[in-house]
Assembly symmetry: C2
Homo-oligomer: 193 residues x 2
């Protein structure tokens, strides 16, 4: 069953060990922030720092694992038809909108949407770490400076994950203008049981 | 007063808003992992993701701020005589030693030392995020792959911070062999009141 995440919103669900998750970019050029939590202990969660450690790379794609703060494998990336994701930047929130866009409109943000989803499982907003940002294109210059570019993802690109433990998954259709090539689109996903 | 952190150990202390903290590399080529926590609310802590967002760089040095998970400035880097630090990799722990060095000796790790220090303030090990790794030299290749190199820091190099809020600070003298050029040395620090 294909599930839709409307523009600027989020979703959450459980993914059992060995189940596959496909996250699609139906229209292209849209980012999706992902948080993974151990279903049986919400204090274990994905960690960019541990993932960079064990994968020895900051560009995480097909063939890489997502690791937890306790050094356990949480998910394996089976396929990634786009190939460019980000695991450096924190989820967008109302404060980043104010800082970068001088925008004070109360539109939903990824952090707000992730927090709304994860509070159903008892996870507090402050406990949400840096998300794995599917399809996000952050250019890293030689001197380390970062630039957020439009996603390279075309309509139909997808990423397939295999769960390495029982997981709570939260996903968004990202709400930051610059991250999504200037327009807000939906994300779809499918759990293969 | 100069405080010593013996090789492979840690320390913690409070740093009030506007106080300066100097962290010295007395012998050179030694990493120090740093965690910053809001003294008045332990759920607010340093965030690599938010720091990369607002500083628009992954190489954090003189002139940069360290930001919190709530998008507040925690500390400003006033001086950095070495100029090369890391904010990508998670603190070393017994599992990273087993993975990278096939070492199962029960030597202290940065995560162990940070956890020991921070539990005095009620902070659980699972809540320790990616540390700001002072003097750590992680090479980032064009395709994103990472290599841990010996620190560029020479004996006497130091980093000076100004606190932007009341802080709990935890610091280590890092325990990972490859991160410190193959030998374990001390770190010293001084709080200017």
């Amino acid at each position: 069953m294909i599930n839709h995440i409307p523009a600027r919103s989020g979703a959450s669900f459980k993914l059992k060990k060995d189940q596959r998750l496909l996250v699609y970019n139906p229209e292209g050029k849209q980012v999706s922030d992902m948080i993974l939590i151990n279903e049986h202990d919400i204090n274990e969660k994905l960690s960019s720092g541990k993932t960079f450690d064990y994968e020895e790379s900051i560009l995480i794609t097909k063939g890489n694992y997502i690791w937890s703060n306790r050094s356990n494998r949480m998910a394996y990336i089976v396929e990634d038809t786009c190939g460019r994701n980000d695991f450096l930047l924190a989820p967008c929130d109302s404060k980043t909108f104010a800082h970068f866009y001088d925008s004070h409109d109360p539109s939903p943000s990824c952090l707000g949407n992730l927090s709304h989803e994860l509070q159903k499982y008892g996870i507090h907003k402050d406990a949400i770490p840096t998300a794995f940002n599917l399809f996000m294109h952050v250019d890293i210059a030689a001197q380390g400076s970062l630039r957020v570019l439009p996603p390279k993802a075309k309509a139909g690109d997808y990423i397939e994950f295999k769960a390495e433990m029982d997981l709570i998954v939260a996903l968004t259709a990202c709400s930051a203008k610059d991250s999504n090539g200037g327009s807000f689109k939906s994300i779809t996903y499918e759990v293969l049981r």
